[in-house]
Symmetry: C2
Subunit: 635 residues, 2 copies
């Protein structure tokens, strides 16, 4: 980590997950044998990085499966994807009745130079000119503006562009630039995920993501959107929020966590500025959304009490903070707006998603699911909103799955199994030899194993089926998705019974969360008029297979909408419209969070969902029908 290399570490370095395998090729280090290493691997020099003490200079090889590869993180998938995904234009239309009226805006002002007869202070002169020329009253001023603007006024011959922000308490003057600079007003929006951080650069005047020149094609200019992403560098300290909170309790841990996430964000900002060619000083605003733990760590607020019952976050609303105070490399006038939060496990990313997907405006009953490292679910409409959070473990991100990995290059993302030969056909991200399997591949694989009857509805292998690919490995029975010679890791990539059981537990938690949420208001899945699916997870998901395994409810396909990164969607809208600031706060205030840790019904629902697709077959009529047909056709 000190050398800037980030290695997978699901368990946060506690020596249990075995994901941080490295190979020592030179130099000496103390590192014990471990269950997760075979004697042959140990012999070859493989070690677990987290258990290794360095004794001197060391040459280390980082195997593919331990690498954190960001090449597959691009947001572009959002738009290449199939029919359930909305176009950017359609996405903005989820929310009605807002005008382009950014919270942070620029105005051009011309001042009369002072004379002996009229020598009021520069600030009074400027404020009254803004007042007269733009009809704005009650403007307050940031102290940093006062420190520098007298010289700018004179150098610019009393013609300047002012940047103002609308706060709860009126307008605030945050910057003064020489000349007419109105056309250059940009904002950066950031989604801080536990695993991944996404950023976009917005043109606040044009109300869109900045388009960057991206070469030529047949004489026509090509454009790419100014968007960038990277793994949250905190993943080196642990895969999930709990390991991060634990790390933050160590001496200096909170500071380290804060600096680490800001480091990733600074890298993303650098990339956005580089690709767009826009000067750093022209960024006027920054909007950040993240789950509660990520938000608190980003702000340097100890997340300790998020983890301890009764799970209390420090604050629902964070006043705008100057970005430079957090260590962000950006103009010192820029304030960070942080999306308000609902509860310890329902954060600003969810409020942003609810804002961006327009649920808070609609009459119709909508279920909003954000499935990432955690699963957060919101139910409601314009009159009420309720939420739950299911901490079922990040199986979809690869944790708890033997060959699990994130949705990056080399991850198996699609699986189909021939119902007669039981041989698999796999597709990987980047169409390279496989390294492991990601969330969507996992869902595909389990759905196919079930549909072909290789596993039963409990997720256990049916040994009466003569599938060559099924064998007994070190972790019990498993299905080999790719044989050693077909993989990059020179080892079989298989799905074990334990993996399948972990997946079932995750999908059961999410389904049970939705069920309990509906029950709590006396409604059922059939009452839903819309299901909005957000999160990187949705990008590669096969909707029918997700229903097939019982992760999503068995509703007509037309009711599902994928919005991609809901958190960024909301952050963009907020940058464009000051009217939505109030809406974001209203959403966080009106949302009632159901604590599942305290909920009697949840465990029952969870147990009932520990079946493929569900013990209540009546809840999945379409799946039952399909299984019946399939089996019929095989007979």
């Amino acid at each position: 980590m000190e050398a800037g290399i980030h290695i997978n570490a699901s368990c946060g370095g506690s020596g249990t997950c075995g994901k941080c395998k490295i190979k020592i090729v030179g130099g000496s280090a103390d590192s014990p044998m471990h269950d997760r290493l075979s004697p042959a691997e140990y012999e070859e020099g493989f070690r677990l990085a987290c258990l290794t003490s360095i004794r001197g200079n060391l040459d280390v090889e980082i195997p593919l499966e331990s690498q954190v590869d960001k090449s597959a993180l691009s947001l572009k998938g959002d738009r290449e994807q199939g029919s359930y995904l909305l176009s950017p234009k359609d996405i903005y239309q989820l929310v009605q009745g807002w005008d382009v009226d950014p919270t942070v805006f620029k105005r051009y002002v011309e001042l009369d130079p002072p004379t002996i007869a009229d020598n009021v202070s520069d600030l009074t002169r400027l404020i009254s000119a803004i007042n007269r020329q733009h009809g704005m009253n009650g403007i307050s001023t940031d102290f940093r503006v006062i420190r520098k603007f007298s010289r700018i006024l004179r150098e610019a011959d009393w013609k300047v562009t002012v940047t103002l922000v609308l706060t709860k308490k009126g307008y605030k003057l945050i910057n003064v630039e020489a000349g007419d600079n109105r056309q250059q007003n940009y904002s950066i929006v950031i989604d801080i995920g536990t695993t991944t951080i996404f950023g976009q650069l917005l043109n606040l005047n044009e109300c869109k993501v900045v388009a960057c020149p991206d070469g030529l094609c047949d004489g026509a200019k090509l454009f790419a959107l100014a968007e960038a992403s990277d793994y949250n560098a905190q993943i080196s300290f642990g895969e999930d929020v709990i390991t991060r909170i634990v790390y933050a309790q160590k001496p200096g841990g909170l500071k380290k966590m804060q600096e680490t996430v800001v480091g990733t964000i600074n890298g993303i900002i650098d990339e956005l500025l580089k690709m767009s060619g826009i000067k750093r000083s022209l960024i006027s605003h920054m909007v950040v959304a993240g789950n509660t733990t990520m938000t608190q760590l980003f702000l340097g607020i100890d997340p300790k009490y998020i983890r301890e019952a009764p799970y209390v976050p420090t604050a629902h609303f964070i006043p705008p903070v100057r970005a430079v105070h957090l260590g962000i490399h950006i103009g010192e006038h820029v304030h960070v707006y942080t999306f308000p939060m609902v509860a310890s496990y329902v954060g600003g990313d969810i409020v942003a998603g609810v804002l961006g997907s327009g649920i808070f405006q609609r009459e119709s009953l909508t279920l909003y699911m954000d499935i990432g490292t955690n699963g957060e679910i919101v139910l409601g409409n314009k009159d009420w909103l309720a939420s739950v959070s299911c901490s079922a473990g990040p199986a979809f991100e690869g944790a708890g799955i033997k060959f699990g990995m994130r949705a990056t290059r080399g991850a198996i993302e699609e699986v189909s199994i021939n119902p007669r030969t039981y041989e698999p056909m796999i597709l990987t991200i980047g169409r390279v030899k496989p390294i492991g399997i990601c969330g969507s591949g996992l869902i595909d694989a389990v759905a196919e194993l079930m549909e072909t009857g290789i596993i039963d509805q409990n997720g256990k292998f049916r040994l009466d089926i003569a599938a060559d690919r099924v064998s007994k490995g070190t972790d019990g029975y498993e299905y080999i998705l790719a044989r050693k010679e077909e993989t990059q890791i020179k080892d079989d990539i298989a799905l074990t019974e334990i993996d399948i059981s972990n997946l079932i537990r995750t999908k059961a938690a999410i389904y049970a969360g939705c069920k309990v949420l509906l029950d709590s208001v006396g409604l059922s899945f059939r009452d839903l008029e819309q299901v909005i699916i957000a999160g990187g997870f949705g990008r590669h998901l096969d909707l029918e297979k997700a229903i097939f395994i019982g992760l999503l409810p068995d509703l007509e396909i037309g009711k599902f909408i994928f919005v991609g990164n809901g958190s960024l969607l909301g952050a963009r809208l907020l940058s464009f419209s000051q009217a939505l600031l109030k809406e974001a706060e209203r959403i966080s205030l009106m949302m009632t969070n159901l604590e599942l840790s305290n909920h009697a019904g949840f465990m029952n629902e969870f147990m009932a969902a520990m079946f493929l697709p569900h013990t209540d077959t009546g809840a999945f009529p379409g799946v039952q029908e399909r299984l019946r047909l399939k089996r019929g056709s095989l007979l």
Copy 2:
């Protein structure tokens, strides 16, 4: 300066004033001969510090007259002084109708601990408790509080003391302390003078300056007030605001100036805390008043345009700034309130003085004079206020006077001259052998010289009078106040014709300023119902002699009130009463400043006042009468 030694430097190191005389007793340095040094002095090793280049280690002796001695700066004189000075109690009564209701206050709150059924954020819990228990709404929160208070709440078992500040935009929560800490609420008020900085530590609950135990006397405890002062360390860069502004234009000069004044303030705060035994963390508020240049330098705002026509300050109002951002060693929640300013040469110190002396509330016409390094004058009542600033040069602080010095130990502060023998009787501050003469001594001396007829009403020596003490020195005719063998500097201390002429210019400028101000509203000195004199200057002043030389108007003595440090007086009141915040702003807004640099009548009035007491003898009937009687008695 780098060694922390501050030497007099009226001219700011430009090699003209000759005040920075030092004696080199060992080591080598390059330093030229200079007009201000006699050949004998040069021979003995005397040099001007500002012209000396150091070539290696150096042993330097700093003669008394070059030293900056703070021992005589104590504020206590304010209360020991005679009849015109108001007692502290009376001083507070200058302003009517205010309640003790500090801008920054503490409240004790007990919270219900969170449960699973009630797990709103810590901040929401705290704010609603304040709301319920103290009836305060619309409280906003400082981000630093959010960063730290979750832990404090739990460690304090949900019983805490909150510190709130009333801003223009409502209440703001700035600190949370464990337990009931209401009784410990303090404020620091600072008057930043060009020459001297004064500070006091206030108990905000008791509405008074903190009293510190100061020994025993006959078994009874003695108390001293928590007040401290020091020379503004910027004096090493020049005596007046102009030399400071010039220095601030050099590369790094502004930063140096800002750090220098903050260094002095930090020293004063250290002293206040040490003498009172009060912990730094218990200071909740800070109020600063100073002239416009001092205020801008303190805040790190370039004062460049104050000096250039049309003399525009950067801002009249400064939003509260966090003290730590300015480099002040104080709790990070403390904000500095800076008194609003009127113009480039009528600053927050004057607004504070007008606030503290209650002019803004009175029906009666009042003249307020603050005579320090500059002279600022305000005229008005509750309905209107007008001001002028006379930059006549700081003769009262010793500049432009051959043996002039500030009012510190060894300064001649009282002079009387025997009308028959023409021999002087002098008194020095600290009753030690004299080093030089300060402002009040100067006024005394000139009044006595005039009364005894040694000088005429033009300030020229009457050579027809056989006074042994009058002789021709290097600077023309002079009157020897103390002979070589009676002084600490082993040289005659004399008053030259040039000195007298400088004093006349200074007093003429101030008198003319008052006259022009009155003329501008069609009033005359006779219309004045009250003259309030503020500034350190007033502490040693003989009122009758000041009238005698024509510095003050010839009005009945009962109309004059000395308020001591008016700036501190206003700063104290502002700390005690939030209602006065609005009054301070109102004062700065309602005050009309008359620019003398642009004023046709001023030069005429100035020339007319270049006489002792004045060319218009009718304006000084009392003085004329006294001169007549005196001369009669001598016949």
